[in-house]
């Protein structure tokens, strides 16, 4: 993915979340994460990504 493709994907997700509204955004992200797991199709990679996402939630 190029920088501008990543940018476009990022904006598309932001817009989908905004359109869903705040209460429905978390379930939408959950569905997206599930679809991404299936697409990644690598249990070890998925485990690693979950650990990284969890570790990054508290910035310094």
């Amino acid at each position: 993915m190029t920088d501008s493709e990543l940018d476009a994907a990022y904006t598309a997700l932001c817009e989908a979340l905004a359109a869903a509204g705040e209460p429905a955004a978390m379930p939408l992200l959950a569905r997206f994460a599930l679809l991404a797991m299936v697409e990644i199709d690598d249990p070890e990679a998925v485990r690693r990504l979950i650990a990284r996402a969890a570790a990054a939630t508290e910035p310094r």
């Binding site: 990543l6 932001c14 817009e15 905004a18 996402a53 990054a56």
Partner: protein, 585 residues
Amino acid sequence: MTPAPGFVPYPFEFHRHAPPDPDVAAAGNGPVVPVVIVGGGIAGLTLALALAVQGTRSLVLEADDTVCTGSRAICFSRRSLEIFERLGVLGPMLAKGLPWTGGRSYYRNTEVLRFEMPNDRRQKLPPMINLQQYLVEAYLVEAIGRHAGLVELRWQSRVTGLVAGAGGDGPVELDVEQPGRSYRLRADWVVACDGGRSRLRDALGLKLEGTAYEGRYVVADIALRCDLPTERLAWFDPPSNPGSTLLMHRQPDDIWRVDYQIGDGEDAAAAVQPENVLPRVDAHLRMIGLGRAWSPIWITLYKANALTLPRYRHGRVLFAGDAAHLVPIFGVRGANSTIDDADNLAWKLALVVAGRADPALLDSYSDERVQAAHENLAYGRKSTQFMAPPDFAFRTMREAVLALAVETPAVRSLINPRQSSPVRYVDSPLNASREEGHGDEAQPEPAAGSVLPSCPVRWLDAADGERPGHLADMLQAGRFVVVHFAAEGPVPPAWRELQKQLLDECGVVLRTVSVRPGTDRSDADLRARDTDGDAAALHGASPEAAILVRPDGHVLGRWESAGGAPIGAAIRTCLAGGPGRLERA
């Protein structure tokens, strides 16, 4: 301007200009002025200078008695500097401005991004300089003074009405007011450079379209001596100002720009009060270890908009700069797109005023610069969505990016500000490629509509003496240039005949340039030695390639091998304002 208590003035003498002699002004009822420029800010001054260097007269009406107060725009892009160089005003700007190439972003206290703008040894000019707008305007006024016979700059002269003729064939009539006097002026062409609250826009009943609200920002200039380098500094949610996004830029003369967004609930009038601004700035300077040794100079509130007129030509009235479009603060596209507007319009208007081109050529100014505005708005919008998230979704996702950025370099590009870059006029009616039967895909870069990239070459004089320079040095105000890339030998013989025809029939100057890897024996007007083949490679040039360049440095067309006919046709189509126009003519 008396500074408020505790404030210090800008270290700059704002020269107050008198209004014109009333008798001179009253002569406004006399002959029709070819070009009246309403507004003497960056747009109006750049345009007047760009017309003057082509020998085209203009009259500039400025309501104020001095250059802008407050530093306003501070970042000027490489593209803007290239334009200023062609106008002969680059020297003082480069001497005074602070060049920079990149920046850093922090999330709370952690550096999450270090970025560099495109820059390499081929470049003659820095990607960006910081320079106060009042200095840029002062240098433009000074340069205009060297063309005294061609530009009349009337200070304290306010246009109060546009009377008639905007859409018709006759001249446009303007009512002008100066202290103690008002008069009527008639002009063949009027260019509205009268800023974001353009009176001419209102007078014609025109409305900007787009998003009228993209956030409000407190902008403060402060006097501060420190050793920090010149770069773009951004803090997201800093401990000094929790929840806010804050930017800092160094300007010449130990002045710093600090700006931050204010919340939707905050009262704007209260937000710009020194008692609310100064503690926030001070907290931040303390956080980065710069203590208390600073003084405020200027505080203002900036409302970001993402708006443009759908068209910039309305009969004999043209719009440029903020009068035509308002772009968000991030990405430094306001003043820079304004300078590009003036550069695009100047050569076209000069050709039309001289009777060398059809007025339809001015429609291409609108087509090209409206396209550029849409691009600038889209980029500005995207930057704003990151810098000042409009809702919970953009806020949540931005937090994710910032939290991951340290460990995950791949997401850092999302933090990178999309700084102003040259626009390619993809759909310009002037682009010659379309008629050539090969689509855009088939065309190597730089394709028609792009800015011709520059690189070092060695210019040869009549005695074959070599002088180092850059390819863009060949551009001259108001002149077309055709560049011939080949291993050796003369430029196509038909070009000499074409030059003569264009000059005799249309009064248009076409300069020929040859680029050769070795010593150049061609008969071109300018000869460049491209020792290591950089120029040919940069331009995707095959042997015998020809690239035709407009006076503003954009590519008009390119050919793998060209006689005189296609080049002549491309220039004639351009002078007619586009292919459709030529057929009708």
